[in-house]
């Protein structure tokens, strides 16, 4: 068994006296999808923002396996290293694509931005790579020069995914990636995500309140309530045999179809 790519221990985030999340510990292995589920206000987005370095934690440690094998706490890295990591080795897919895209520059430039940020200076190459990625996320390449404001919600979300994957990251954070989409589009995006995650053997931490999304994508899941982890385990085990009263309630609340 390989070593974990991400390791969280004793993580806590406080907003003054209010606890966002506390006593969080889990590992993520390469190529594994971990879902964090829970009701709104349970601290799952706070947790995601903390481990992705977008929010400062109050206590605890977060270690990440760098490509050279080192396993430092993110706080030990310099700001330059952390930002470089975010641009290259990590991705972040927002619920609202407008938060993760530049809405006023073309789709091609949106995908190419990360390439240019790591030093690509050949227009033709950047454009070719951007075109490849657009077709991989099923956006017609003729739309490479259109701005995301002209795209539908599903296309924007797929563009955001392409933009994050272009530098071949190893770890992706996703915050309700299918939250604002209608059901048929949701299914398509999920399908695409599942394919890409397997093809590229990405490690993914995905936050969702939708147990169906968790069941479809993730191998393991973490159930949160009131800022605590109440249950964690293999997705099938948690959903088929929930142990904690809250998880049982959550699973029971899915309408049988």
């Amino acid at each position: 068994m390989t070593d974990p790519i991400l390791s969280v221990r004793g993580l806590e985030k406080r907003y003054g006296s209010f606890v966002g999340c506390t006593d969080i510990a889990f590992d993520v292995w390469p190529g594994e999808v971990v879902a964090i589920v829970g009701e709104s206000g349970s601290g799952k987005t706070t947790l995601l923002n903390c481990i992705s370095g977008r929010l400062e934690r109050s206590a605890g440690e977060i270690r990440y396996r760098l490509r050279d094998g080192r396993f430092p706490d993110l706080a030990e890295l310099s700001e330059a290293e952390r930002r470089f990591l975010m641009r290259t080795d990590w991705g972040f897919v927002h619920q609202n694509p407008a938060d993760g895209l530049r809405m006023r520059v073309s789709a091609g430039a949106n995908v190419g931005e990360r390439l240019m940020a790591v030093g690509a200076r050949h227009y033709g190459d950047i454009r070719r790579t951007a075109g490849d990625w657009l077709s991989r996320v099923e956006i017609p390449t003729v739309r490479i020069d259109d701005q995301p404001i002209a795209f539908s919600g599903g296309m924007r979300q797929r563009l955001q995914i392409a933009r994050n994957l272009v530098t071949h990251p190893r770890l992706i954070f996703m915050d309700e990636p299918t939250g604002g989409l209608d059901v048929s589009v949701q299914a398509r995006v999920l399908d695409l995500l599942r394919g890409l995650v397997t093809d590229l053997s990405l490690a993914v931490v995905i936050v969702t309140h939708d147990l169906a999304v968790a069941r479809l994508l993730s191998q393991r899941m973490i159930v949160m309530k009131g800022g605590h982890i109440v249950e964690a385990g293999l997705t099938d085990r948690v959903l088929d045999d929930p142990r904690h009263a809250y998880t049982q309630l959550l699973v029971a609340s899915i309408p049988e179809s």
Binding site: E79, A80, R83, R102, V105, S106, G108, A109, G112, E113, R114, M116, A117, V118, G119, R121, H122, Y123, G124, I126, R127, I144, D145
Partner: protein
């Protein structure tokens, strides 16, 4: 005894000292934007309050001042700033590039190559080259600090995607000594090659934005581009209509309401000097017995 109405060159000595410190810091770190406590000047923002403060701080009694606005010595902005320093510092003024020791400029670099004893002072409206790409000042400072300049290329990429070539024609971003990306003020990109390895000191003042930056003499300045879309400057197909100069930056002048127009040097001093030397462009009335053949050859 009557006391003078103003301190020499308008600003008080403490203010000049503060500005000189900012200038020295700017020279020490070429291309880095140094914050300074910009003063209210007796002119509106956008009229060169930054340039005027820099000029006031470096001006000495023996200096000869030239002020240009888009290359011209005779426009309102240039005339008023020249008159301002003639009155408050009693310095000699000139319109001749070669005679000046300090040249304050709005959006042009003179055609004549500058010399080591000269200083060029630019008026800058928006000193931050990343501003229109990233509105947060906190973020742009971090980007400069960590040398994260990928975003500038996103803008150039967009240009090529939309227009087929890099369509940015002025305020074209440059990289100074392979470190800081700098806005060269809204000079046409035609002037960008003159920024690099210039024997003259170049200072940039932004009054409203409270920033000073500098290019010391012989600094390496590179205009940003793509490998397959290299940086190029504007070209003009015809020579200057007044002085027949080629390889200079031109203004388009509308001459009537029937589509008549001509292209003339934007640098008025350069144009006048050439005319005084006997160069005559095709736009001037043709004189002498050979007028007809002159017109023929001009075609």
């Amino acid at each position: 005894m009557t006391l003078p109405t103003y301190n020499f060159a308008y600003l008080d000595e403490q203010t000049k000292r503060m500005i000189r410190r900012a200038i020295l810091k700017g020279i020490a770190i070429p291309g880095y934007q140094v914050p300074f406590a910009s003063r209210e000047m007796p002119m509106p923002y956008g009229w060169g309050t930054g340039g005027v403060q820099v000029t006031a701080a470096i001006l000495g009694p023996d200096d000869v001042l030239k002020v240009i606005d888009q290359g011209a010595d005779d426009t309102t902005n240039a005339v008023s700033i020249r008159a301002f320093f003639a009155k408050t510092a009693n310095v000699a003024t000139t319109t001749k590039t070669a005679d000046a020791t300090i040249i304050q400029t709005r959006h042009r670099i003179p055609e004549e190559r500058l010399q080591a004893h000269q200083t060029l002072v630019f008026q800058v409206p928006i000193p931050e080259p990343l501003r229109f790409l990233e509105p947060r000042e906190t973020e742009t400072r971090v980007m400069h600090g960590l040398e994260e300049y990928g975003l500038v290329h996103v803008k150039l990429y967009e240009d090529i995607a939309q227009h087929g070539h890099i369509a940015t024609t002025y305020a074209y971003p440059v990289k100074v000594e392979d470190r800081y990306v700098m806005d060269p003020s809204p000079i046409p990109k035609f002037d960008n090659p003159k920024l690099g390895r210039s024997p003259a000191l170049q200072l940039f003042g932004a009054g409203r934005e409270k920033r000073i930056y500098a290019l010391p003499p012989f600094t390496e300045v590179a205009s940003l581009d793509f490998e397959d879309h290299p940086f190029t400057v504007q070209r003009f197909s015809r020579p200057c209509a007044l002085c027949n100069a080629t390889g200079v930056y031109m203004d388009e002048v509308v001459t009537d309401d029937r589509g008549g127009r001509m292209f003339v040097c934007s640098d008025t001093d350069h144009c006048e000097t050439r005319q005084a030397d006997g160069h005559r462009g095709p736009g001037l009335p043709q004189l002498g017995p050979h007028a007809a053949s002159d017109r023929e050859s001009a075609r």
